[in-house]
Symmetry: D3
Subunit: 134 residues, 6 copies
C-alpha cells in the first residue's frame, strides 16, 4: 500500500503540480468520503496512470482526445494543463481537437477549443507558435 | 484539385490498403451521391488527414481513442486496423482503451476491447505480445 | 378519452400503416403493462403527434433528424418508413443525414445512412432518384 | 381529468413543495404553450409518477441515478432536492453517484457530486453524516 | 476556389448576418489556424450549406432539431437565430423542441427551450404568437 | 489484499453466480492483461460493490437504472440478471425502465425493455406477474 501511495503522489505531482491552479476532484471526493477518495485516487493515479506501457505524454494525448470527445469540459481543463506539464506539443494537441470534427462534429470541437484556448492563455502560451508546415 | 485528389488516394492507401477487409463508408456515400462522397473524402482524407502536424501513427492513436470514447464500433474497427497498418504499437492501443475506464466507464471500455480483439484475431496478431513491464 | 383514442389510431395508421413491416414498440409495452402502454400511446401519438402546428411530413423530417442524431437506429428505421409513408421527399431525407456530418460527425451519419438504405431497399425505392441539381 | 389533475398537484407538492427554491420546467412550458404544458404535466407527474409500483423514495433514487448518468445537471438539481423531500437517505444517494464511476466514468461522477453538494449546502445538510460503516 | 469562397460568404451572410450578435466559431478557428479555418468554412458553409436539395429554411429546421437532440447549446443558439433569419416559423421551431420529449426526454427539451426563449427575447419576438390551432 | 480478494469473489458469486449464463467482462480483460484484470476486478467488485451503505438489491436497482440510461445493453443484460439474483422485484425493475421515458426518451426505454424481456424469458420469469395495483 505504501508503495502505491508513493507512486500516486509522485504521478499526481508530475501531472497537476504545475501550470494553472485547478482544484482536483480528489478534494471533493474527500469531503464526501475519505476512504472512497483514497480508493479512487490509488486506483486511477496509483495503478492505472503509473503503468509504463504508455509514456506520460502519450497517455495525456489520449486522455485529452477522449475527454474532448466526451464533452467533459471540466476534466479536459485539468488534463490539457497536465498534458502541457508533462511536455505534450501544444500544436499537436490543437490538431487532435480539430481532428475530432470528423468523428464527433463541430460543437464538440468548439467546446474543446474554447477550454484549451483558456488554459493556454492562463499559462501565457497563447497563441500557439504554429509549426512550420511545408 | 488534382493535387488534393492525389493526396486523398495516397493517404487512404496507407491507412486502409492493408490488413483486414472492410468496406470504407466512402462506397456507401457514393451510392447516395457521387459529388457529396467526393467532397467528404477530399475534405476528411485529403485535407485533414494529410496534414503533418501529427504523424500518421499519432493521428491514429488519437482517432482510436476518440472513436472508442464515442462508442462508434464500426468506425473503430476501421481505424484500429488502420492504426496497425501505419505502425501503432498494439499494446499501447490496448492500454488506451483500458485508460478509458476512468473517463467513460467500463461499458465503453468493453465495447472497444471486443472490437479490437476481433480485428487483432483477423490479422493474426492475437494475443498481443505483452510488453515486458517492470 | 374516446376522441383521443380515435386520433391515436388514425395518426398511427397514417404513419405506420404502410411500407415495410416493423413491430411498433407499442406491442412490447403492452406485454409489460397494458395500462402503461395505452398511456404512452395516447400521449405520444394521440396528443403530441396529432397537433397541427407542424404538418405530418414536417414532423417526420424533424423526427428523423433527431433520431439520427441520437443514434437510435431501431426507432429511426420505424420513422424513415413513416416519413416516406406521409410523403417526405427521399432525397431531402438523405440530405438531412449528410448534414449531420457537421453537427455529429461521420459515425453518426454512417449509421443513419445504413438504416435508411435498408428501408429504401425493402420498399423498392433504392437508389434514390437524384434531384436534378443545377 | 379532474382526478388526474388532483393527483398531479398532490404528487408535485410532495416532490417539489419543500427544500430549496427551484423553478420547475412546467413554468417555462406554460410560457410557450399552456395546453402542451398541461399535457406534459398530467402525463409525467399525474400518470407516471403517481403509479405505486415504486414508492416515491425508490422512484427518486432511480430518477437521480438516471439523471446523473445522463449528465442532466439542471434536472438532477431538481430531483436530488425532491429525493431528500420524500425521505431518501443522503448517504445512499452519494453512494449511487460514486457507483456511477464504474459505468460512466469520473467526469459524470464529478458533475453529479458538485450538483448534489450544492443542494445539500443550500438545505443545511452538508456535510452528510457518514453512516457508521463496519 | 473563388466560386466556393463567394458562395461561402453569401450563404454565411443569409444565415448569420442579422438578428442577435454571436461570434461564429470561425473566428476562433482562425485564431488557431487560418488555413484550417478556411478549409472548414469552405467545406461546411461553402459546400454543404450551399446545396439546394433542401431550401435554407428546411435545412435550418433540421439543423435546430439535430443540435437540440445533441444538447449542443452554443451551436443551437447560433442556429435558431439563423433559422429565424431565413424565415423559419417560430411556432414550428418550438413544436420541434417539444417533440424531442418523445425521443430524448425532458432534460434535452428543457435545454433547447431555454436557449430558444433567450434568443427570441433578444430579438424582441417573445412570446411567440401562438398559431390559431383548431 | 487477501481480504479484498475474498470479498471480490464472494460478491461476484452473489451477483453473477446464478441465473442465465453470460461471460463476465473480467474474462476478456484477463486475455488482454492479467494484472490489469485483477486491478479492475478488485477495485470494482472488491472495493466499490462490497461497501454496505447500499444493500445489494438497492445497488443493483441503481446500476440497472444507470446502465439503461447509458444505453449499455451488454452490461445491462449482465446486471438485470444480477439484480434478479440478489432479490430485486421484477415489476419494480420494469417500472424503472418505463420511468426513463421522461428523462431519456422512448428509444432508450425500448432498448432496456428488449434486453430485460430477453433475460426474463431465459430465466423463465416472463411475463412478469403484475403487482395488484390499487
Amino acid at each position: 500500500m505504501k508503495e502505491t501511495d508513493d507512486k500516486t503522489r509522485e504521478t499526481a505531482k508530475k501531472l497537476f503540480g504545475a501550470g494553472i491552479k485547478i482544484d482536483p476532484p480528489y478534494l471533493m471526493w474527500k469531503e464526501y468520503d475519505r476512504d472512497l477518495a483514497n480508493d479512487f485516487s490509488r486506483f486511477i493515479t496509483g495503478n492505472l496512470y503509473s503503468r509504463t506501457v504508455l509514456t506520460l505524454p502519450e497517455r495525456q494525448m489520449a486522455a485529452c482526445a477522449m475527454l474532448a470527445a466526451l464533452r467533459a469540459g471540466e476534466e479536459l481543463r485539468l488534463h490539457v494543463n497536465a498534458a502541457l506539464n508533462v511536455g505534450c506539443d501544444p500544436a499537436k494537441l490543437a490538431e487532435v481537437f480539430f481532428q475530432l470534427a470528423t468523428y464527433a462534429g463541430m460543437p464538440t470541437v468548439n467546446e474543446a477549443l474554447v477550454v484549451y484556448r483558456d488554459v493556454l492563455k492562463e499559462r501565457g502560451q497563447w497563441p500557439i507558435e504554429r509549426p512550420a508546415e511545408k
